[in-house]
């Protein structure tokens, strides 16, 4: 099995799994439907094309919370662009300054196609809502061999420098991974309605999906250092 990892980092993100009507909430981590939808958009799969969506939705999904971010509430007022009429008042929730690593496990050819599609996307990727652009390239790495959890234990910590500085001195950091349950855990796991069935514009459909939380310990990356540059290295030893 191959694993594709994505870095979801941006000033704002919003991942709704149960958002309805004028209260648009966000989960604390990216949803499967949001990430699969983003990949499908990058690969140019149209909204109603459920046949091409099915292999993507069958991928195994997991997400690591590298930097949880803070929840932001927006009291949203908007007016219609042409008629000037006011739109319904709504409350929108965002995650500010969060960084996640999402991983998808599945067939190698499919993941290679998606990896290339992210480099030259057909529709621009966004973090859960069109108004939330990513601040760093989304594609992180493609691992030809490996299981989802093993890869999420290897990928370096992606949190921003200012966040990493708040946890100085430790050689390991413990992060949370939210992944789909195995057969054994099926009955004890949490469920969330974010397994995409159809992204058709007239009627989106989602099925229930299991979610298990696992801690992982990963080594801290060394602090970024300037490259060593000593012009004396190029000169002769004798001094003046």
């Amino acid at each position: 099995m191959s694993v594709l990892t994505l870095r979801l980092a941006g000033p704002l993100q919003s991942w709704g799994a149960s958002a309805r009507f004028t209260r648009r909430t966000t989960e604390s981590a990216p949803t499967k439907s949001g990430v699969i939808g983003m990949l499908a958009a990058a690969a140019g799969i149209e909204r109603g094309d459920d046949d091409r969506l099915a292999p993507l939705a069958a991928l195994k999904f997991g997400v690591r919370i590298d930097q949880p971010g803070t929840r932001l509430r927006d009291f949203h007022t908007a007016h219609h662009g042409i008629s000037g009429k006011s739109m319904p008042l709504s409350e929108r929730f965002y995650l500010a300054d969060a960084v996640f690593v999402a991983a998808l496990e599945g067939d190698r050819t499919l993941l290679t196609t998606l990896h290339t599609a992210l480099g030259t996307p057909v529709y621009t990727p966004f973090l859960g809502r069109r108004s939330c652009p990513p601040s760093l390239p989304i594609e992180l790495s493609l691992h030809d061999e490996g299981a989802l959890m093993d890869i999420l234990r290897q990928v370096p910590w992606q949190a921003s420098a200012w966040y990493r500085r708040q946890y100085p001195g430790r050689d390991h950091i413990e992060l949370t991974v939210l992944r789909e349950a195995d057969e054994v855990e099926q009955h004890t796991a949490d469920v969330q309605r974010d397994q995409p069935l159809s992204f058709a514009a007239e009627h989106r459909r989602h099925a229930l999906r299991t979610r298990v939380s696992d801690p992982v310990r990963i080594p801290r990356p060394p602090a970024r250092q300037l490259p060593r540059h000593d012009p004396f290295d190029a000169l002769d030893e004798e001094s003046a």
Binding site: G119, P121, R228, H229, P231, L235, E238, S239, A240
Partner: protein, 262 residues
Amino acid sequence: MFLTRFRVNTARPGARRLLSSPQAMHAAVMSSFPALLPTDTPTPDAPRVLWRLDQTARAEVMLYVVSPQQPDLTHLVEQAGWPAAAAASADPATPGWQSRPYSPFLDRLATGHRWAFRLTANPVHHARRKDGEPTKRTAHLTPLHQMGWLLERQEACGFRVLEKPDAQRLLPSGTTHTRQPHHGDRYELAVHDKRTLAFDKSRTAGAPIGRKPPVTLVIATFDGRLEVTDPRLLRRTLTQGIGKAKAYGCGLITLAPLGTAG
């Protein structure tokens, strides 16, 4: 030509005064040349004194000076160095700073050699906001424009910045996603430590009373790898500097072996 290195003792008030004002540092560097008089008119197109401050950690600040004559930094050691340690070493070769002849190295440069380089510069262009207005010197603010500024000059400076192998690039072949050529991610070149300097230029006698606007500069540090294309032009670049604000610690480019710079 000589290349000189001096470590600044950042704990001393004298060092803080020098580090906080490029104007003061310039004066301190220029007064280390006993033969160079303030009334001397510089010959155009001749090697000149260039200096740069490299800060690699909070208390690790190095002053590099490239100069036609050998400098005497005694006054810098006294104000902003370790005078007791320099006196105790009792070795005339290490008087608190290191100075080495630069010319043998400059003469050895040959076409095709590859080096790592570092440059702190003041990348500017001349822009007008509307037609008919005189142009004004304006700083480049984004890393992309700052890189473009250096890449425009590389040929005239006698070197070529090396290109990255395709595997290390974010986008294929150094193009945008629409296949337009673009230097963004193409070269072995990084821009870091962009900073804005604002400092007062000391008032000359007889100038009207009142605060003059400070000198403001946007400077950035380039780290990268290059290949020598024209040793004669590169020698000129290494001894005469690149770009503006050479008196304020900009324009000095130094080379180091490729292996040592990560």
